[in-house]
């Protein structure tokens, strides 16, 4: 074909390159833009590594395919020339019969050459370029939209996080919150604590009607949980009191208070899901016997010893009152303490002081006075311990209930405390400042239950005779380990748990 044909073909090639380039750019921008938009709208961090390689890959692939499809072969050029310049297939015929002989073929070739020579190469247009320009413009718009959509710039890669996502509050959650409020109202919490907790829960319920993000909802639920904490930890708790006595050298009394305080915690393993179940058990017997033993033991230390002069006994009492209860009284002079264990202990301290001030009392009078005080305050301490422990457990119960109702917000449940086998106490709430979000792991499956008789029975594991309660406790500890970690079905777990609930009296048939 003549020179003009080659020139036109060259121009068509340039056109194909331009169109392919536009196609590549359009594909790349559209791909990157769509991915970026999808990430942002889906709340995923739009990292540049997600969309840029995809855009480049799409651009390269589409550009290559487009050029391969659009590349002008001689045949395509001839067809295009015939179509665009109405040559009635002259160029195609001349190309197809280029090497052939024949009278008409020869003339046809000559005439086609004439026609081609007459064409203006500069007038050759780039076909379909407007379509590709339009596609490029659309793709650019998509890419710009992807960058402009709120949620962060493409380079920062910051899209909406989980906390910014609108919280989805279900009807079921509201119902469970209402049930929790009802349960707290039914409970035996003190009126002040009850009122404070229900007020906080009611406020949370009202706030659920607002449009909240996950972050805002989590804050409001945490506020309600902290309200439960502060409401139930009013006054000096037994762990803090035990700590004071330990600091003052009264380890026995400290231990006694801790024993009593840990009482209801032992039941928590079975019954922590039901606030009211704590009160099915008689509170008086709910306090660990260790408290009584410890308290009595402390009393014995202040009793008159054989041959001891009354004055010496008084001095001993005075000393105890001065150091232990004087210090404690100072520590407990907080005007906010109006009830609970702290108040009882402060009154107990004042009573001992008053007793010790009577230095002229006879021995019998002194001992009787000591017995009266100890006898009176023992019951009051037990009551206070029960109430306080119940209150602390109730606070934990409410915190756990809120964590379970809003389980999508990432709160951690406070697991049940178990009594260690060596009898050492474990601070239930940790210094009275527990926020309820920590994971207080229980013991190593060595929990035990209060209840049962002190009769001795044969222990097949040790081959000796031991108290029935101790054997049962050991057996229960083993069972607990198997129940918590073993491969048993839910039905089996429930049956075993129920058996021990009946055995230890925490559940009535």
């Amino acid at each position: 074909m003549d020179g003009n044909f080659k020139k036109i073909k060259k121009k068509y090639i340039i056109g194909a390159v331009l169109n392919s380039l536009l196609c590549a750019l359009a594909a790349g921008l559209a791909t990157a833009g769509i991915i970026l938009l999808s990430l942002k709208l889906g709340g995923v961090e739009a990292k540049i590594l997600f969309y840029l390689p995809a855009g480049i890959g799409a651009a390269v692939l589409c550009g290559a395919v487009a050029f391969f499809a659009m590349r002008p072969t001689d045949k395509k050029v001839a067809r295009r020339i015939d179509e665009e310049y109405a040559l009635n297939e002259r160029a195609q015929t001349a190309l197809a019969f280029g090497g052939k002989d024949g009278a008409v073929v020869e003339i046809q070739r000559a005439e086609a050459g004439e026609k081609l020579a007459a064409l203006s190469v500069s007038a050759v247009k780039f076909s379909k370029i407007w379509k590709f320009l339009a596609a490029f413009a659309v793709a650019l718009a998509i890419a710009v939209a992807g960058i402009a959509v709120p949620g962060g710039t493409a380079s920062a890669g910051q899209g909406p996080t989980g906390d910014d996502i609108p919280a989805e509050i279900t009807e079921s959650q509201i119902v469970k919150l209402e049930e929790l409020i009802a349960e707290v109202n039914k409970s035996r919490l003190g009126e002040d604590a009850k009122g404070e907790i229900t007020e906080g829960l009611e406020l949370l319920k009202r706030e659920l009607g607002e449009t909240l993000t996950n972050g805002e909802l989590r804050t409001k639920v945490e506020t309600a949980r902290q309200t439960a904490t502060s409401a139930t930890q009013k006054g000096v708790n037994y762990a803090a009191l035990a700590g004071e006595f330990a600091n003052l050298g009264a380890e026995g009394l400290s231990s006694a208070i801790m024993e009593g305080g840990n009482t209801y915690l032992y039941y928590e393993a079975l019954a922590y899901k039901d606030l009211d179940r704590f009160y099915k058990q008689d509170m008086y017997t709910g306090v660990d016997l260790g408290f009584a033993a410890g308290f009595d033991g402390f009393r014995e230390t202040l009793a008159q010893e054989e041959g001891e002069e009354p004055a010496a006994t008084c001095a001993k009492i005075n000393a105890a009152a001065a150091t232990l209860f004087g210090g404690l009284a100072l520590a407990l002079t907080n005007e906010e303490i109006t009830s609970g264990l702290g108040l009882e202990m402060a009154d107990f301290a004042r009573g001992l002081n008053a007793l010790a001030a009577n230095v002229s009392a006879e021995e019998e009078e002194l001992q009787n006075g000591l017995n009266d005080i100890f006898g009176k305050y023992k019951l009051r301490f037990e009551d206070a311990l029960c109430v306080q422990t119940y209150s602390l457990l109730a606070g934990r119960y409410v915190r756990n209930a809120l964590a379970q109702i809003f389980d999508n917000l990432g709160f951690t449940l406070e697991l049940a405390q178990n009594r260690p086998s060596d009898g050492s106490g474990i601070g239930g709430e940790g210094g009275g400042q527990g926020d309820g979000t920590g994971n207080n792991e229980g013991g190593s499956g060595t929990g035990s239950m209060e209840g049962g008789s002190a009769d001795e029975i044969y222990d097949p594991f040790t081959g000796s005779y031991r108290k029935y309660i101790d054997v049962i406790n050991d057996y229960y500890a083993i069972v607990q380990e198997l129940v918590n970690g073993g491969n048993i079905t839910d039905e089996q777990r429930a049956a075993v748990t129920l058996y021990f609930e009946f055995l230890f009296g925490t559940k009535q048939p």
């Binding site: 009635n88 297939e89 009278a103 008409v104 003339i107 026609k115 007459a118």
Partner: protein, 376 residues
């Protein structure tokens, strides 16, 4: 070596008698339309040289066509398309079926053609009582000069180069079939003796679309042997006026012989060399296949309106006649336009419409038009 110059206003034109064209005007117009270059832009023509002999051949062809057209105009008013198509069929070596009401000039056209081509002409008026031997000829017993009785074959009217089979649908099927062999093979067999007809041989048959009483519709096999079916329509008012004016002067044909049979054969041979690219050939083939409703590739129009599609002869006719048409129009290659234009005369008698088309009052040409539009 002769070079073909660019067709501009100043370009040389083939000298023709006044008022006549050779189809090159179309070429000139097209060339002007595609050019918009300044003298500085225009490169030097680099068309390859053409041999004088070939150039002469092609010139002779176009000259002959031009002369035939001009001569026919003396005796035939209007009917340019019919004249061109008949001429195309003659050069291509095919037969034509003319359909028209009486008096539109069918017979006159054939007579005039015979005169301009210096071809012996005969006319056969088909009637229901016409026998095959009336067409082909028969053996007769004659006494020779020695008084001996011998059998002599008397040639029938079919023994001519240009045969007008007038109202062919009035003949009986037996007589019609006698025409079949002649039209197809250009020979006559009588009493086991075969007589070849001289070339070029051309049958132009006519049909009267009215007066169907007492007629025998041509069978499909015979219809297929006609290359074209042309509709001779009633002349326009101006044409009718010209006819009346002309025949007032004389009713005789005044056209003169301008070519002979040998020239026709040479033109036929030259036309065979017109190049056709594969795309155009495939387009022609696709057109034919698209007329078949039973074929998977059949067009929607065919599936809806056609009962029987065109035979393979239609594809042969399309290409053969397209080559001739291209040359007649001064082009040197077959184009899509040639195929599309020839589709109507080629398919008209080869496609059978179904009742759906009849119910929708569609003509064959309407369906052909749809099929063309659906063929890519």
């Amino acid at each position: 070596m002769k070079k073909f110059k660019k067709s501009t206003e100043a370009a040389e034109k083939v000298e023709l008698p006044a008022g006549e064209t050779n189809g090159q005007e179309e070429n000139v117009g097209q060339a002007e339309a595609v050019q918009n270059v300044t003298a500085e832009e225009r490169p030097e023509p680099v068309a390859p040289p053409v041999s004088e002999e070939n150039a002469q051949k092609v010139k002779k062809f176009s000259d002959a066509v031009a002369r035939i057209r001009s001569e026919l105009k003396k005796d035939v008013v209007g009917m340019e398309d019919v004249v061109d198509n008949v001429l195309c069929a003659i050069i291509a070596g095919g037969n034509v079926l003319l359909e028209g009401v009486p008096g539109v000039g069918k017979t006159r056209l054939v007579r005039a053609l015979g005169k301009t081509m210096s071809l012996p002409f005969s006319r056969i008026q088909f009637t229901p009582d016409l026998m095959p031997s009336d067409v082909t000829g028969t053996n007769v017993i004659e006494k020779d000069d020695n008084g001996k009785m011998t059998t002599v074959f008397r040639h029938g009217p079919i023994f001519a180069n240009l045969v007008l089979a007038d109202e062919i649908n009035r003949a009986t099927p037996k007589t019609q079939s006698a025409m079949l062999e002649v039209m197809q093979e250009h020979k006559v067999t009588v009493a086991k003796q075969t007589y070849r007809l001289s070339e070029p041989f051309f049958v132009l048959a006519t049909e009267n679309p009215i007066e169907q009483d007492g007629t025998y519709p041509l069978p499909e096999a015979q219809m297929d042997r006609f290359m074209f079916k042309l509709i001779v329509s009633f002349p326009s008012q101006k044409e009718l006026a010209d006819i009346v004016s002309m025949t007032q002067i004389t009713m005789d044909e005044t056209a003169e012989a301008v070519i002979d049979g040998q020239t026709i054969l040479e033109m036929r041979e030259l036309a065979k060399g017109v190049p056709v690219i594969d795309e155009v050939l495939n387009f022609a083939v696709d057109l034919v296949t698209n007329t078949h409703p039973e074929l998977e590739g059949g067009s929607a129009a065919a599936k809806k309106y056609v009962r029987y599609g065109a035979s393979p002869r239609a594809a042969q006719a399309l290409i053969t006649c397209a080559k001739v048409r291209a040359l007649m129009n001064g082009n040197y290659n077959v184009s899509y336009a040639d195929i599309k234009a020839l589709a109507y005369p080629v398919f008209r008698h080869r496609i059978k419409l179904n009742y759906t088309a009849v119910a929708e009052k569609l003509t064959v040409d309407d369906v052909i038009k749809q099929i063309i539009s659906e063929t890519k």
